[in-house]
Amino acid sequence: MKVSAIIIAGLLCLTPAALSAQTVSDAQIASIVVTANQVDIDAGKLATSKATNPEIKKFGQQMVTDHTGVNKQATALVTKLKVTPEDNATSQSLKAGGDKNIANLKSLKGAEFDKAYIDNEVTYHQAVIDAIDKTLVPSAQNAELKALLVKVRPAFVAHLEHAKMIQSSLGK
């Protein structure tokens, strides 16, 4: 089963259809945000060491830098708000999907690695943006947490566009 499908399935738990059965609390949102960033940091670290294409190496490094920066801000905010991130089905699913992606990437090398990494980055960032739009922002109770989610979104969009640029340039 494609790894990205697992990640999407995890995030799709948060689709409106599922929402009637479940609501996402601020504590759960905090956990989802931190986990989502960490998953991409881990994949980015692997890309900086394993990627062959220099653009992909550079992109991986950027993911580490940017998602670390976002996590720093997110952690500072939830600490200030005295919100303890609460592990939940979605954050666990994200983590599981992330681990599977890493395991898959570790089995690949050269151009195959590069393609698998960047393909996953495209799918992953799109899924996270969808979750931000459809669930996290609408659910957020605390105004500052909601504002942070809104402020984070453009970074994910920029990452997605950059990943798509690299994806389309592969094999040319």
Partner: protein
């Protein structure tokens, strides 16, 4: 007395008209805010001698780097930090964030 005042006023006027230093406008400071993965404003017109300050209000680091090599490069601007440029070269300069290639803007120097 009136002649003295007139003479003084006349000499002041002549000084302003003939002295280039007196006629040159003071440099203006312009601010470009980097936020939401964008340079705001995306198009900025300034004069030679003006000051441009890029302020990073975003969650991630950025740069302000002219596409034409050697014109200007802020290098790393961390969140909550800024970078100041005294503009010395005339022209239209496209610039980008070297970390995020989708971030583009222009600086027009007159």
């Amino acid at each position: 007395m009136r002649i003295a005042i007139f003479a003084f006023a006349l000499s002041l006027t002549l000084c302003t008209l003939t002295d280039p230093a007196g006629a040159r406008p003071k440099p203006t400071t312009h601010t470009v805010t980097i936020e939401g993965m964008k340079f705001q404003p995306e198009a900025l017109a300034v004069a030679v001698g003006d000051i441009v300050v890029w302020v990073n209000k975003d969650l991630v680091p950025h740069t302000a780097t002219a596409s034409k090599a050697g014109i200007f490069d802020s290098k790393l601007i961390e969140p909550d930090n800024s970078w100041t440029l005294i503009v010395r070269t005339q022209g239209d300069f496209d610039y980008v964030c070297t970390y995020h290639p989708t971030m583009k803007a222009t600086l027009r120097v007159e």
